[in-house]
Point group: C2
């Protein structure tokens, strides 16, 4: 587990700040009214490449030695982390090898290409992805960077909550979506060290509720199926982030697909900002369990805004 020192988060933030945006915190009078709570949206959809993953990817590369950087980095991802690692690497003059499944949407492959990622396509199974990335590591000496189960990635993702708490220090709760666990683990560390008794709650689709079940069973659970529109939340926790989540996360709220779509529609309609389904999961959780948040100051991490505009659910 990460050496839990406040200073680590501050150093991380200072390290990555030249390469990321300190994103705005927005409020919505009408959504706060609907929720019965004072909501603060940390808008990582306005982050570079459209998601918080830019933070962790940048930090992981910056922590490599000069020699390691010269050999490049590699990951397997079909989602935002592929884009984040590509753009972070490009900003730092490093090669990024990205293993993507042949099933990845054309739009995501094109995005990775546009950020300069070097793509290898593989069969859409975890085994094929890992084999593809192992092969690249052996051939090039590139360093493997995991999208969520990596200490430097976790610290990087935690800087979003660090910025949020710097701006709104007296939040009662921060809620984030839970996918691979990097965002919520980093958020939990930031809330622990920089919050004022600030609770952290996770939000997850019923259709991919591995974190909910993992916290109950005390071990990392998988998902039998992941039939959710929140495509960023299909992954499972890892051994680096799970202990942090166990220690510092209060609870996980699960939401239905209808609740996710309806929360996404509400944010688009009232706030005029584009958020991806995975981000809407956090607001959906607040609206589902209103009594928990009644009258509180609640921070919501809007994780990203990368949506295929031709494939909207409404």
């Amino acid at each position: 587990m990460i050496a839990m020192q406040k200073q680590l988060l501050l150093d991380t933030h200072k390290r990555i700040l030249p390469y990321i945006h300190n994103t705005p915190v927005l409020k919505s009078r009408s959504i706060s009214k609907i929720a019965g709570a004072e909501l603060y949206f940390k808008c990582e959809n306005f982050q570079r490449m459209g998601a918080y993953k830019m933070r962790g990817a940048t930090n992981a590369i910056l922590q490599l030695s000069g020699e390691a950087r010269s050999r490049g980095v590699v990951t397997h991802s079909s989602g935002n982390f592929a884009q984040a690692l590509s753009l972070a690497a490009k900003s730092l003059g490093v090669k990024a090898y990205i293993v993507m499944p042949t099933s990845a949407p054309r739009i995501k492959i094109k995005a990775v290409e546009s950020y300069g990622g070097i793509i290898s396509l593989c069969e859409p199974t975890l085994i094929a992805r890992e084999a593809g990335s192992d092969k690249i590591q052996k051939e090039t000496g590139a360093t493997f960077i995991h999208p969520s189960n990596d200490d430097e990635v976790i610290l990087g993702q935690g800087t979003a909550a660090l910025e949020l708490l710097t701006e709104i220090p007296d939040l009662d709760t921060i809620i984030t979506p839970v996918g691979g666990g990097g965002l919520i683990a980093g958020t939990a560390l930031a809330a622990h060290y920089f919050g004022n008794n600030c609770r952290v709650i996770g939000a997850e689709p019923f259709e991919a509720d591995d974190a909910y079940r993992s916290l109950i069973s005390g071990k990392i659970e998988g998902n039998e199926s992941t039939n959710t529109i929140a495509d960023g939340l299909k992954t499972v926790l890892g051994d680096r982030n799970f202990p942090i989540i166990q220690k510092y996360v209060d609870s996980i709220i699960r939401v239905s697909e209808d609740e996710i779509i309806s929360a996404m529609h509400l944010i688009w309609e009232r706030m005029k900002i584009i958020v991806e389904p995975s981000s809407a999961v956090a607001l959906a959780a607040v609206l589902r369990e209103k009594e928990i948040f009644d009258g509180l100051k609640v921070g919501i991490i809007i994780s990203g805004g990368n949506v295929d505009l031709e494939q909207l659910p409404f």
Copy 2:
């Protein structure tokens, strides 16, 4: 024509500021790169009720006497001004009577209702709208407020550019969409008094190019048809705003429907903000006539973000 004094705009801004948002100015690295110019987006899609029209409506009501306010205000509009007048009136404890055509989208009628507007439906012709609003004026003594051809409305709309120029004083050009002429006339006054040789350019669909033709002919021209997705730009100029436009607006650029949709898609995709088609017309004009804007600092008024999410063009 308006008495053209710098002070009038400053007074207007001070008057309405408690009731409106000073909206953010956003930049987009990637869209500026595509345009070959430094673009500053004044985001009136984040304005209260989602459009700049809140400014003019608020100012028009605030300039009424207490007695006139007690009798209420009336307008005919199927679009953003109906919502703006309703919300501005509600904020100020004034009744707003709104004459809307039976053809108005259900979503717009519901929005006006939600802001407390008192709706009268009429046949979808200008004659029926005017008759409906005349009748209400006679019966209630309410003051008619025109959506764009009213000095106080024009001054109110000009405060968006005033805020933009306060934040970015050295803009070379400001570009706005042109519908009824209130926004561009107010913007032209603000640029004249507060800009540093800042040009104002209008943007209009080819399908509703009345302002373009009016500037050529020297008189207010109508539209034979208005087959455009930019539903806020179907109206024509008026005798209060046309002289200001003639005097202070540099030129009008016309764009195709495809260019509007493509600019709207670009803003949604890259900036992660929701803008309505009428707003995208301004960026479409910059992208169509790149050589005019090459290397310049260009302000773009994003007029609003009220879109029916179930009826998107992509």
